[in-house]
Symmetry: C2
Subunit: 152 residues, 2 copies
Amino acid sequence: MLRPSKLADYATVIMTGLAREPDKLRNAADLAAETHLAVPTVSKVLKRLAREGLLVSIRGAHGGYKLSRAPADITMAQIIAALEGPLGLTDCAAHNGRCGIESRCNVRGNWLRINLAVQRALEGVTLAAMAEPLPTPLAGEVPLRRAQTQGV
Amino acid sequence: MLRPSKLADYATVIMTGLAREPDKLRNAADLAAETHLAVPTVSKVLKRLAREGLLVSIRGAHGGYKLSRAPADITMAQIIAALEGPLGLTDCAAHNGRCGIESRCNVRGNWLRINLAVQRALEGVTLAAMAEPLPTPLAGEVPLRRAQTQGV
DNA sequence: CGAATATCGGACTAAAATAGTCCTATTAAA
DNA sequence: TTTAATAGGACTATTTTAGTCCGATATTCG
């Protein structure tokens, strides 16, 4: 559930590739070959990442892209947001006023709360962490707190 | 980003409505009127929730639906999963073997990690919490830990 | 028993979001 | 001046999602 778009997925793979050699300029064709994706698709993703400030672009011959800052300073939240936009709320939460019961709809406020929790989770994972080969075991690293009434 | 489907959104509204009178039987037309949604749509959502075990259904005249267990024992994760399926991974993670670089693709493992974090967040919010009118202030209740290298 | 009222399951259609491609302009190096 | 690269956006195709509808089944009640 709640899966990211394909483009956002590509973005993480591409960014991870760039994170391995943070200062090297890479062009779209180059990265396409590495990721086994079509050049126009990679190009589209790179353009968006650059426009959002996550990449620096150099135009002209021998141009290309590189990270705009250190991998440790780039989060998954930023990468996904660059491709999908900052939205992530229900329609009800996005443009208020449409829903007739809104004024007493406490569900809405809770959606905001949930979104905050998800966003916080994505902000906790940096590109640097993504580039490392699974530093810690996948499960059990944080004690699992299930189904408490408050908490998020 | 990462927004739930409309159906899943409807589900939360409907479930929240049911949670206010956990033992009362409600039929689809009834809930449609309350939520301002079309009857067939509400019906579709109810059927899925019932099939996933979150609702008990009674057929026949004077039939309807009610929660299968206490609101405190139903999580947002369960509701969303009922409508969208348990998926939530990238394609790469879903059917392994397709991606040529998979064996050395450490991005994949990290996606699993991220998913775990998101799922955990959704498991932390119960229907009971959703039914209450915003028990605590929206922001600042949990200290925000940003961008650390491990942590999720 | 028969009529009325529900859910059940799935097929089907319509609409919207997403992916992917392509074209033209601009920039910089050789 | 030619070549190699990004910038931006238009466009199309595809896939996903929403929404509707229908026939079957179950239950109540007169």
